[in-house]
Subunit: 242 residues, 2 copies
Amino acid sequence: MVKQLAGGEADTPGNGERPRRRIPEATVARLPLYLRSLLEAAETKTTTVSSERLAEMAGVNAAKVRKDLSYLGSYGTRGVGYDVEYLLFQISRELGLTQDWPVVIVGIGNLGHALANYKGFSERGFRVAALVDSDPAKRGEAVAGMRVRGLDELAQIVADERIAIGIVATPATVAQEVADRLVAAGVTSILNFAPVVLTVPDDVSLRKVDLSIELQILSYYQQRRMGAGEAGAAISELASVQ
Amino acid sequence: MVKQLAGGEADTPGNGERPRRRIPEATVARLPLYLRSLLEAAETKTTTVSSERLAEMAGVNAAKVRKDLSYLGSYGTRGVGYDVEYLLFQISRELGLTQDWPVVIVGIGNLGHALANYKGFSERGFRVAALVDSDPAKRGEAVAGMRVRGLDELAQIVADERIAIGIVATPATVAQEVADRLVAAGVTSILNFAPVVLTVPDDVSLRKVDLSIELQILSYYQQRRMGAGEAGAAISELASVQ
DNA sequence: GCATGTGAATAGATTCACAGCG
DNA sequence: CGCTGTGAATCTATTCACATGC
């Protein structure tokens, strides 16, 4: 039972393509979570999920799920729930995952290595199209079935492979220069793993993952819990929303 | 010029230890950013920074810096700015980084490997005290100058090393079981890299890093930018706050 | 009847703007 | 005078609670 796309779309009626509502940033950040949960549900042949069930799977509450999904459109059925396959498709489309995204990883150290081999990327349509490192010693080395190429080839690679997303996994010292080169080459989205604040033009999206920052945040709550008195004082303080 | 701790602390006056104000979660998450910026400033022998300068370094705005720092106390000097060394100490203390945190990494695949070798941890007082993997084939293997130990040894390791923080870098399928074991062993903070929602007791802090979720968020904004019309339509839409 | 979808209420975070003080 | 520290205003996100419609 897959609903048809027909039937009055609430917004911008008529004009064919994407719904184009403005989705809150917090909601966008949770869509991948719902996607993953729906994929799990689909694996167990579940055809329908309630907001309650989906919330449980994604680790959030049901009201949030409903509100979030309502930004995409009215894709549920009252009294029933959401069709798993249909919602999967809608979220995928909204996230732009119905297309293939070639990515380049710059900086093939320990982390770059791990990212190059990470299965989770390809599972979501992110294809690691090239590996780049400035170290001449690394050039030509085979990593994850690919040859590592030089930083001077970056512009060519981005153009040839039509790469829009770059991953920076270099040491902090060279990360800004690498980001600049990525932008110059035409990349418009950057995921930064280097522990440094990058500056990019306004029309380039930037997200960061900082491993040691996450530990520092845990340290804060951990200390607080421990400081709050001796005998196992269990102050219920969840550091993250998951 | 390092200020003394004396002088009327606004909150809970008198009773010696930690200030114990309630700091907003968003602020806690930015403190590590300020810390890093201050360390950079200290390297260049800068003794004082204004909120303006610190904001620039941390990639946020000055009002936010002042508001954030005000939760820690009145550690600045009007007309002057913040003393770098003093503020470094205060933030470190607030984050609990004046003590050493031994951590255990469970799951020594590509990512676990990279994490075990990550320099950024030790730089902030996080000492990788043990590596654990359930795969008997990995047991005894040397990684980052350590021997990988078995999952059955986990409880003993946590107790012996007084480990409060565990890092889960296993495949999704076993992550929950590993988390359960960590909790049973007495770990009260978990950083999860597995792409799955973990459930832990209320008195355990949990944070997650999901590599492919970050890419999916970038994909959303990237698609949106590209979908908005052909000729380089530069919709200024920054995906993250850095 | 039951679960969605959504206005309204609440909570939390950010930004403004300026009083206060070195 | 210059920059911090902070109430007040604003914006964003979450939660509530119920009308709506299958």
